[in-house]
């Protein structure tokens, strides 16, 4: 204390002016928020019609009020004597408040809402009075799922994605080992190899749609070297004559999924590669030297000395690959839209198609599919959390 005259208990006293000003501002904000949200009077008052153009300013105004309210609440709480006496207990909740509420509202609560939707039949609409128009149907949607051949196709494709996507892990390791050298310019090579991951999946999808195009795609060009000749036809134009026609990968029911998975592997391998490259950076050189003295070489060295040290990298590579496989949506949407005849559907895309695709929305049925996908993912999430929990216990 710089001023000895101040009584030490004053440190813990409520600062009255600060609290009352903050309280007044908070009250005004709360009133404003309730008023604006519950009625559209403000909009009519200022002559703003309920058009799309009016939405953004209205939203920004609400956000402004909300943020002011939060700041006022912060000053109010930190001015209270209770806070000053229990700083270490109260402070974490103040730090958490906004982020946690935000996350709960947009992520955690919707999970349960979706699950509850799955027991209803609903098209996503409300009647004029704002009353929900759906009806409770119990397990009906799940019973429908069991008889839906498209659901089984999607499930089977999801499994295919999971299994084949795993190839990204060893492939990434292989490229990482190939690039883990110190020759000049290797840094540029590393970043260029990583390139596909930075590009949006939509663009990757378009690139591969083009690559697979049976008329002029890259693949048909390579196919042409083996099976096609360019000849002059009767009219005198150059035409391509093939002994075996190039396959139309995305147009073929048996091949479409494999084609999309191959496209998806491209960025995923790049991701796994970068994980392993960072991992290899941290492999202890002492152990490798020791291994060399013991006569370990090549595969043996890799398997017994290097891979055990790469465990954290492998773990993350597997986690992100599983999640990537189950989240596959963008590529299917850009490359085949689930076709031909639903043969390349996965649960993620099928759900979207059923819920908001063309025609009427089937919110209930879509939610049932989403719930199935969620529980599949939950297996991996639980495993990931369990592993994290083990690490935390060791850490403390």
């Amino acid at each position: 204390m710089t001023t000895p005259s101040v009584n030490s208990t004053d440190r813990f006293a409520t600062s009255t002016t600060r609290v009352s000003i903050a309280g007044i501002i908070l009250a005004i904000c709360v009133v404003l928020l309730l008023f604006v949200i519950s009625t559209s009077m403000i909009q009519e008052l200022f002559g703003l019609s309920r058009q799309i153009e009016a939405r953004v300013p209205t939203f920004l105004a609400r956000m402004g009020v909300l943020i002011t309210a939060l700041v006022a609440a912060f000053f109010l709480v930190t001015g209270l004597s209770y806070y000053k006496r229990n700083k270490v207990a109260v402070a974490p909740w103040l730090f958490l408040a906004v982020g946690l509420v935000f996350f709960l509202v947009y992520v955690i609560v919707p999970i349960f809402q979706s699950i509850s939707y799955s027991f209803t039949r609903w098209d996503g609409l409300y009647d004029i009075n704002g009353i929900w128009t759906g009806e409770w149907v119990g397990l009906h949607n799940y019973r429908l799922l069991l008889d839906d051949p498209n659901f089984y196709t999607s499930l089977k494709n999801n499994l295919l994605w999971l299994v084949l996507f795993m190839l990204a892990v060893p492939a990434g390791l292989f490229i990482a080992l190939f690039l883990n050298q110190t020759v000049t310019g290797i840094r540029i090579y590393k970043s260029l190899f990583f390139f596909p991951f930075v590009i949006s999946q939509v663009v990757v999808g378009l690139i591969f749609t083009w690559t697979y195009n049976p008329e002029f795609g890259l693949l048909s060009k390579i196919w042409g070297w083996f099976y096609c000749d360019t000849k002059l036809n009767i009219v005198g134009n150059l035409t391509r004559v093939c002994s075996v026609d190039p396959p139309s990968i995305l147009g073929d029911e048996t091949m479409a999924t494999y084609g999309i998975i191959a496209a998806g592997l491209w960025p995923q391998i790049a991701y796994c590669m970068i994980l392993y490259l960072t991992g290899l950076n941290n492999v202890s050189s002492d152990q490798i030297e020791a291994g060399r003295l013991d006569g370990a070489k090549g595969w043996k060295m890799l398997w017994h000395v290097v891979l055990p040290q790469l465990k954290p990298a492998t773990f993350i590579a597997i986690v992100v690959t599983v999640i990537g496989a189950l989240r596959s949506f963008d590529m299917i949407a850009t490359m085949t839209q689930g076709g031909p005849f639903g043969s390349s559907n996965v649960l993620a895309y099928y759900m979207y198609d059923q819920a908001v695709g063309e025609g009427v929305g089937r919110y209930g049925y879509g939610s049932a599919i989403a719930t199935v996908l969620f529980f599949i993912m939950l297996v991996y999430i639980s495993y990931f959390l369990w592993r994290m929990y083990q690490d935390e216990k060791e850490g403390n």
């Binding site: 979706s114 020759v183 260029l192 083009w210 290899l280 993350i316 908001v356």
Partner: protein
């Protein structure tokens, strides 16, 4: 170092390695090169089947110019920036706060809440889709840029919290302890002591979130139908429908959509990679 450095091998191996590098890279990026070559040639080339040879004339500027002139590509790019930058700021700022609470304070909810953020971050998007659409509808922010930003910011807070909390956990705790004993207020410790120390984490997160949001497709399709607010990823797919058979324009538009994240990556490579490894491997 593993595998054995090529410098220690025979000169033949070294040469073979140095030769194999560009070849491997060429094969790896072949699809990308092919689409680039397509984007700089005239439409007539594609019609006669000259897809991978030298273009009959180089039309780099014409093709890319045409994409801007004929379509709303510029508006789509602007929309993407309007979505990505506020999202980045909001989620990183919130995660600094939540990460600090979960890393520094030892209260019994710290670990369960941290796991809640981590778990939420990994759920499939489809389970969130319909309630989020419904909520945005009722808040009247569906079809708007702020509506999309709100969701993205909330969702990305999960990932940012995971990263930030782990980063802050590695800070020397004694530093904070001694500041507390000095009587420094909790918020001053956060602002003056901890924030400067986590600058690298903030940089890494900003780069990553920007790229994630730039590349987002699913949420933009779900939450925005109005073409005035569409971001570039959805825009490119719409263009794909408009430019049927005009592959030189489709490929030019696709590559345009990929440029900003690529520039970001090359400019901030170190931070980018640190972020991607989820802070698990320090390097």
């Amino acid at each position: 170092m593993f595998p054995n450095p090529v410098e220690k091998r025979s000169s033949g191996t070294r040469l073979a390695y140095k030769l194999s590098l560009p070849i491997a890279l060429f094969l790896w990026l072949l699809p990308l090169l092919a689409i680039f070559m397509t984007s700089i040639r005239p439409a007539s080339d594609i019609a006669i089947g000259n897809v991978f040879g030298l273009p009959s004339s180089f039309q780099l500027l014409q093709n890319y110019g045409e994409v801007f002139a004929k379509t709303d590509a510029l508006k789509y790019l602007a929309n993407t920036l309007l979505i990505a930058i506020p999202t980045m700021i909001m989620s990183v700022a919130l995660a600094c706060l939540t990460g600090y609470a979960l890393a520094i304070y030892r209260f019994k909810w710290a670990l369960p809440l941290f796991f809640l953020f981590v778990a939420g971050n990994f759920v499939p998007f489809q389970i969130l889709m319909l309630p989020v659409v419904d909520m945005s509808n009722r808040l009247e922010i569906i079809n708007t840029v702020p509506g999309l930003v709100m969701f993205h910011a909330a969702f990305q807070t999960g990932f940012c919290t995971l990263f930030m909390r782990n980063f802050m956990k590695a800070l020397p705790f004694e530093l904070i302890e001694s500041a507390r004993l000095e009587g420094v207020d909790e918020f001053k410790i956060f602002w003056y002591l901890v924030l400067p120390l986590v600058k690298p984490a903030i940089a890494a997160l900003c780069v990553l979130i920007f790229t994630f949001i730039w590349n987002d497709f699913f949420w933009a399709t779900v939450l925005i139908q109005d073409s005035a607010s569409l971001p570039i990823t959805v825009g490119v797919r719409t263009l794909n429908g408009e430019f049927v058979q005009q592959w030189h324009l489709v490929s030019a538009a696709s590559l345009l959509a990929a440029v900003p994240p690529v520039l970001m990556f090359f400019a901030m490579q170190k931070h980018f990679i640190a972020g991607l490894t989820l802070g698990a491997t320090k390097g």
